[in-house]
């Protein structure tokens, strides 16, 4: 389930990115600023998704390889997000929302399986 680890790291970083006011505005393309409690919630959710991706990495690849893979996916996911953001903010927003919803759902399916 390597792809899931990647998608979850991407989703987690995306949520943390959304929790920063300036990136929130860039992605939604308007000067609307959410309240600070909702930014805090985004931040907490982001860290939780990152935690979930770490757990998935360790679960699929074990304690020796899992963390290494996780760092790798985190770096690749983050680079995609950051270098994509200025060129296609809407695409990043869409892919971020999709992975945020799809990722944890996929983990649920994986756990129930």
């Amino acid at each position: 389930m390597d792809i899931l680890v990647f998608l979850l790291s991407y989703a987690g970083l995306f949520t943390l990115c959304l929790a920063m006011p300036k990136h929130f505005q860039v992605m939604l393309g308007k000067p609307y600023l959410p309240s600070s409690p909702s930014l805090l919630i985004l931040k907490i959710v982001g860290w939780m998704i990152l935690g979930l991706s770490f757990a998935m990495a360790v679960d699929t690849a074990g304690w020796s390889f899992g963390p290494i893979r996780w760092v790798g996916y985190l770096a690749i996911g983050g680079l995609t997000l950051i270098f994509g953001l200025p060129f296609a903010p809407r695409l990043i927003l869409l892919s971020g929302i999709l992975t945020c919803c799809g990722g944890p759902l996929a983990v649920l399916v994986f756990l129930l399986d």
Partner: protein, 516 residues
């Protein structure tokens, strides 16, 4: 002048980064290529591409060795793996060592073109092809890299406030700084791990004092004790060698599910023959040479060497993390990606040194500044050009050319020198702006890489039109990576061209205001 802590760190970061940056870029880039060293070597020997992978027939390999070198002092047989479908046999006799590739199933030797392949990137990566002296230079660069990483965290204190920030349309300084920070921060655990573990691999070279004192300068004594090597004396009485196939089978249970990497025989055919069977380290972090030793004449078990003390284990896990023999293709691609990020971090840092000083006219006219500008281009874009020509040389030089593997290296270094000459002449005689030189060399590299699959179509039968439909991805991946990398470089060259055009026009006021 009393300077603040941050200013000191800034000074160290700037100058350690600049002086070792050119070298570090070469070390990191060749290291990134080394991740796929066996795959590159395999690609560079198209004679092997039609060989159907099969498990090793040990008896057939021994028959080949008996035929080639019955009098040899040492034999070794490397088993095929998922990365290399053929087996390699080696023998040493009268101080010279010879290696041949054989078909793993039949033991028949396969004639391949002479090439250093991926091994070249590996040798360059850790010793710049300079033996021991090179190891020391690379060690110094690694220390500078560690210092640059630590000072970088101190001086770029905005990295957390600016996390996720990349502004390609802001001022040149701003956007290069963003790119530098992003490539550094996101893969920071990798950068620190790879630099530190690289130093740890050569602990006995870089910090030999303890061993020298403890073993009275007899380093061989340490290795004999640490790895319990037995070097038998020749008895000079002939005795037939027992079946290596049986010994390999007997060793296998000690690997606990692992695979055998190689079999080594000292004094084959002698009564004191010794057989050592080694485990492959592809299924665990530790790069530890598990080994089972047998008496070659009787087949009796001599030693089993599969456990190490904690200190040695720590070192072998750290080396294992660096050498990345574990985890298969997935981890290798991740290392490749992070290695590219590390190379990009160094490259953007070097560019920043120049960009930061732009506009200060007193400096930009100075010879030193122009020298840095020129060497920057050659160290980064020039190395990419040289790498691409190395791949071309492998396909275009006749397969039976004498000293062929040296010609490939000559072409690599000639291309690199030409790039350096081009950049320096342009810069020192002020024949054009830096962006133009960057654009030229990046375009040349892009063209070489993009055309590599086409050269492969013309010169071999195993090109993309064959390898992709047949699912021969080990070969296709090299062509595809070259193609994608080339397109990326071409895109960068185009963007540089656009920014060169906009910067020659007067800047819009908001860009000037935000420029640093």
């Amino acid at each position: 002048m009393k300077e603040s802590f941050t200013q000191c760190m800034d000074w160290l970061h700037t100058w350690a980064g600049l002086l070792f940056g050119w070298l570090s870029f070469a070390i990191f880039f060749t290291g990134t290529m080394t991740v796929f060293d066996q795959e590159i070597t395999y690609w560079m020997q198209p004679e092997l591409h039609h060989v159907i992978p099969s498990p090793l027939n040990v008896d057939a390999a021994v028959r080949s060795l008996e035929q080639f070198a019955p009098q040899a002092e040492r034999w070794s047989i490397e088993l095929p793996s998922e990365r290399t479908p053929v087996s390699t046999i080696r023998w040493s006799q009268d101080g010279t060592s010879v290696s041949r590739m054989i078909n793993a199933k039949t033991g028949q030797p396969i004639t391949v073109r002479n090439t250093h392949g991926g091994e070249f990137f590996y040798r360059f990566h850790y010793q710049l092809l300079l033996d021991q002296a090179g190891t020391w230079i690379v060690g110094a660069a690694a220390m500078a890299m560690l210092a640059a990483l630590v000072t970088g965290i101190v001086i770029h204190h905005r990295i957390f406030k600016d996390f996720f920030t990349f502004r390609p349309s802001a001022s040149a300084h701003r956007s290069w700084l963003d790119a530098h920070n992003v490539t550094s921060v996101l893969a920071l655990p990798f950068h620190i791990m790879i630099t530190f573990s690289g130093l740890v691999i050569f602990w006995s070279t870089y910090m030999p004092a303890g061993l020298q004192v403890h073993y009275d300068g007899e380093m061989d004594g340490f290795w004999a004790e640490a790895e319990s090597f037995i070097e038998p004396e020749r008895a000079n009485q002939p005795a037939p060698l027992v079946s290596l196939r049986d010994l390999e089978r007997e060793a296998r249970p000690y690997w606990q599910g692992g695979q055998t990497r190689s079999i080594m025989v000292s004094h084959p055919g002698d009564r004191h023959a010794l057989v050592q069977v080694y485990r492959r380290s592809n299924d665990r972090l530790s790069l530890y040479n598990d080994r089972v030793t047998f008496d070659g004449a009787s087949g009796a078990l001599r030693t089993v060497w599969i456990n190490s003390k904690p200190a040695y284990m720590t070192q072998s896990v750290l080396s294992g993390l660096h050498f990345v023999q574990f985890g298969g293709g997935t981890i290798r691609w991740l290392y490749f990606g992070m290695g590219l990020a590390a190379s990009a971090m160094i490259a953007t840092g070097l560019v920043l040194w120049v960009v930061k000083r732009q506009g200060r006219h007193a400096t930009t006219d100075a010879v030193g500044y122009r020298l840095v500008e020129g060497v920057n281009v050659a160290a980064i874009a020039g190395l990419l050009v040289a790498t691409a020509t190395f791949f071309w040389a492998n396909r275009l030089l006749p397969a039976d050319l004498p000293a062929r593997e040296l010609r490939e290296l000559q072409i690599f270094f000639t291309a690199w020198s030409l790039c350096l000459g081009h950049a320096l002449i342009k810069k020192l005689f002020q024949l054009g702006p830096s962006l133009r030189i960057w654009k030229t060399q990046l375009s040349v590299a892009a063209m070489f890489f993009i055309l590599l699959p086409i050269v492969n179509v013309i010169t071999t039968e195993h090109h993309l039109f064959m390898t992709v439909p047949q699912g021969q991805w080990e070969v296709a991946a090299v062509d595809l990576t070259a193609l994608i990398g080339g397109l990326g470089l071409g895109w960068s060259a185009r963007r540089l061209d656009q920014s060169a055009r906009t910067s020659s026009r007067p800047k819009p006021s908001h860009l000037v205001a935000s420029g640093g």
